[in-house]
Structure formats: structure tokens, C-alpha cells
Amino acid sequence: MFGLSDYATAIIFFVLIILLTLGITAYASMQNKSTSDHYVAGGKIKGWQNGLAIAGDYLSAASFLGIAGAIALQGFAGFYLSIGFLVAFLVVLLLVAEPLRNLGKYTLADMLTARFNTSSIRSAAAVSTISISMFYMIAQLVGAGALIKLLLDIPYAYSVIGIGILMTIYIVIGGMVATTYIQITKAVLLIAGSIVLVLIVLANYSFNPVALFNAVEAEIGSQALHPPPPSSITASLDVISLNIALVLGTAGLPHILIRFLTVPDAKTARSSIIWSTWIIGLFYLVTPVLGYGAALFVGQDAIRAASPEGNLAAPQLASTLGGPILFAFVSAVAFATIIAVVSGLVLAASSAFAHDFYTNVIRNGEASDNEQFRAARIAAIGISVAAIVFALPLQGANVAFLVALAFAVAASANVPVILLTIFWKKFNTTGAVVGMSVGLFTSVGLVILSPLVLGEAAIFPFERGSPALISVPLGFLACYLGTILGGRGAEREREQGLQIDYDEIYVRSLTGLRPEDVEEAPQSR
């Protein structure tokens, strides 16, 4: 599809990116000396750095390649996703980010066990973190293998194993420090690549976006500029369900949430919020220029011929308008995007395994710092190997269901429990465990019953397989019923030491004060 010189230039750029990230990892290894360094970069990341890293973590290949392709082929329906992903970020920063920062330490489970003193909740949170991250990671690996096959003609299995080895090296040697710098690098590359593409496209329209939209209307048709008209009630509910999963699910994605634990204080967390919201927002705002540009200059037929979902629209646009060098650069940006996101995912999943399961459940919180550090690294190897093993047989499979699953589980299992832990005084252990389990099982079950997995024989009718419309309310309901009907009631749990007093959780989640801050001054009367 692309010429030989295209491949050669692209391979040089890929090798440069690999060398750069390995260099970063080597540098980061000097700062990766303790458990806290490994999990949260010692909490020493600066605001602007974390802002870029959040953007690097947040904007996956699905955003860069997927949305550009979706807009190129489906018009406004693709831009829909951009809006959903951005508004989703508001849920994270208004409702979850600061309480999580104030209560948490290394993982999502830390935040929940700040209130609930039981290993059952820690285990449930670890299971959901590992499931979400694995679904997401396998989807990224399968997509990356397919992409590199198309871009560089390297066999699928080599790409998957290669990326798997790279992500293991980043995490085992560099931990969160390396992940952060790789995500920053990726964010800078993604910003640069997007700016170049946008400018080249708009240069053809005297830098007037309205002229671009006029061209879209004239050459592609006005249907590309508005949402598709409703076809059936089921299809409309499907769209609503997908958007619920997007907007709520993001606030339950562990690899995004742990980024807020890497900064020293709340003010720094907020400055990282300013940086990330602007970068993420501006990127999503220009996605129509990328998508429509590809449709106009590459042509919808050529985009479809290269990849039925349009995943190569952005590299094709670069090749058409900028030649082999720009093609190689944009492909390398896509590659950097994938490795930055998978690094974050490996870290989130392996932290849940090592910190939550091993250190706190199996070892009862009594492992030394050295043992914890070693466990974290071994878990990272295990998680990477597992992801590779799952991804290898899935070549050519449509992995959309895995992404739907990741968001659905995050929205249905994590978000209700996170929100009720912070905001509901009567919430108890039974409610939290039942809520997480019901959210997990209903979302996995419904996705399996959907057309994404069962095809024609589907029982759950939503084409895009997002179960959120049903599983999110069920998750909340299960938390409520579990609390009301089962267990000892919050008050008795408090008396028995199974739950921390809600007054403490409320004050701590809002203020970030630690117990030592409110210790009675010795001389006070």
C-alpha cells in the first residue's frame, strides 16, 4: 500500500523512538529506587509534567487513529467520541481526582481501604483493576500488531512480542518515573504531529476551518456534518449506553486515576489538571480537521481499502500531503502513543497485583520495602507475559468488545463504589463487595451476550455492545441493596473496627489532612 522508501523511513523513525524510550528508561532507573518511586514516582512529579503525562495516558491510539478514521468515514458520528471523551474528563477532575489523591497512596484499592478495613474489598478492587487494565492492554496490543503490520509490514506476532518486551523493560527498570517521561514524550510528539497535520490540511483552505467544512459539504455531502438520523429505538439506546460508559467509565480507569498520586500536593494536582484539560481538549477539537482532511485528500474508498475501520486515515493523510518523511513521523507518533498507554496499563495492573494482593492480602501488609519493590517488578513481568499470551491468538479479531468491556467494567464496578465510598455515610463492606461483583459480572456477561461476541445469535441487542445503560444502574443498586439488606450496617462495622468513621473519611477526602495533622497538641487543655 505504501512505497518501499516509506517503509524504510518509517522503520528509522520507529527505531529512534525505541532508542529514545530506552534512554529515558535508563535515566529513570537512577530515580527508581524504592517502592514509592516505582508505584508513584515518589510523588515528586511537577504539575506541568503530570499534565502532559495525563494527556499522554489519556489519548490512546483509539483517540489518535480511531477517531480520525471514524470522522473520515462516518463524519460527525466520529466526533461524538471526541466530545464524550472530553466531558468524561470533567467527571474525573470534579468528582474523583482530589478525594482519590487525599485518601489513596499507590492504587485505587488504597483509596477504598482507607475507609473499609477488609481484605475482601482490597481483593475485589484488585480484581477489577487487573481486569480493566488487561482488557484495555490486550486491545492495545492487538491493535498495535495490526497497525505495525500495515505500516511496516512486520509480522503480527513479532510486533506484539516486541511491544510486550519493551513495556516490560520500561516498567521493571524505570517504574512510574519512566512511564511518566515516556508519556510526556508521547504527548509532545502527538501535539507536534497533530499541529503539523492540521496546518497542512488547513493551508489548503487559507487557514479557514469554515472553508474546510464547506469543502466537506460539497465533496462528501452534508450527512457527514450531522449525527446519523435515528433508525430504531434500540440503536438510539445503544448510543446512549455507549456514552454513559464513556463518560462514567473514564472516572474508573485505574491507569488514569493513579496519575493523580504522582504529584506532591493538591495544588500541583490542580495545575496538572489545567495542563491536561487544555491539551486533551485542543487535541479532540482538531480531530474533525484530521478526519475530514483524510476524507478529502486521501478519499473514503482508499481509507476503507487500507483498513475497514479507517484506523490508518491519519498516516495516510500524512503520506498524501507530506510524503514519506511525514508519513514516517506520524506512524512513529502512533507507535509512541501505543507504548505510552500500554506502559501505564502494565503499571496499574501490576501495582494492583503486587501492592494489593501480594503485600496487603497475602503478606498482611508486612513485606519489607525491598520485598515489595521486587514483587512489583515480578508482577510487571507476569502481567506483560499474560497480555502477550492473550493477544497472540487474537490476530485479525475485532477487539472492539475488549474496549467496550474495559469502559463498562470501570463504569459499573468501580465508579459506583468510588463515589459511594466518598459520599455515602451508610455505605458498608457488604454493599461495596456486592456492588463491585455485580458491576463486574453484569458488564462482562452482557458484553458476551452482545453482537460483538455472539454475532447473529446475540441476546443483548446493542450493536456496539456497551452494557452501561443496564449495568451502571445495577452496580449502584447492588451497592445500595447490599448495604441495606446484608452485613452489619455501617455503624456496627465502625464499632468492630471494620470501617473507619465516616467523619474521618469525609474530612480527609475533602482536605487531604492526615491523622498526624489533627493529633491533639500535647500542651492543649
Partner: protein
């Protein structure tokens, strides 16, 4: 109420040994009910003002942005009212869509600037408690 040193060995619902209360850092032998400490923070005027201001911003803001977004999703999914032209080639769907970007940036900046002011109240509450107020 459970004194600190009893908290670490209470079996949980499944009979497993609980993993230790986070933040249980007081010296052993000091029998202080942790409940009281935090209630004292809650009682300070600074914390009450903070809690009130935070709710007064977050509750309406959250309701607003969720409604603003899901009304858009609903209109786009079930109707064609957004499909007409608004300005030049731009449809109402694009205008409404871009309005959500503007909303996100504005809400984010209001939140950050408010929260940075609330920090002073938190600091004040901490000082009030250290001075022995709130009892």
C-alpha cells in the same frame, strides 16, 4: 469506638485478618478515639465554610454538565433537531458539540481557582484544631 491498637487484628467479614487501618500512626498506649479528632475538624468554622462552599459549587456544576452532555446525546440519538444548519456549513450538532469543549474548559478553570482558595480554609481548620478548638 475502637482504640488504635486494637484495630490491627480484627477479623473481617470473611474471617481473614484485617490489614491494618491506614493512618493509624499514633503512638501505642495513647488511647485516643480517632472519631473525636476528626469531628473536631468538622466542627471548626473554617471546615464548615469550606464544606458548604464546595457543595455549593460541585453539586450544581455536576448536575449542569451531566445534563448539558446527556441532553445533547439524547437529542442526537433520538431526534434530528441538531441536523439543521446553524452558521454557514456548521450544523447545530457541531455548535452544541463545540459548546461542550468551552463548558469543560470554563468549569475546569472555575473549579481550580475555587479549590485553590479553599486550601486556605483547610489550613485555617488545621490551625483551629491544633489550637484546641472544635471541642
Amino acid at each position: 469506638m475502637i482504640p488504635y491498637e486494637f484495630c490491627n487484628t480484627v477479623p473481617d467479614a470473611e474471617g481473614a485478618i484485617a490489614t491494618g487501618l491506614p493512618g493509624a500512626t499514633l503512638e501505642k498506649g495513647v488511647l485516643v478515639e480517632r472519631h473525636e479528632e476528626w469531628v473536631r475538624v468538622e466542627r471548626t468554622t473554617a471546615f464548615q465554610e469550606y464544606s458548604r462552599k464546595r457543595k455549593a459549587f460541585l453539586i450544581p456544576a455536576t448536575i449542569f454538565f451531566l445534563l448539558f452532555f446527556f441532553v445533547f446525546v439524547f437529542l442526537a440519538a433520538f431526534t434530528t433537531v441538531l441536523n439543521g444548519k446553524a452558521v454557514g456549513p456548521l450544523t447545530w450538532a457541531y455548535i452544541y458539540g463545540i459548546a461542550q469543549f468551552v463548558m469543560t474548559w470554563i468549569l475546569m478553570h472555575i473549579y481550580v481557582s475555587q479549590a485553590n482558595k479553599w486550601d486556605d480554609l483547610v489550613e485555617q481548620a488545621r490551625r483551629e484544631v491544633a489550637e484546641g478548638k472544635g471541642r
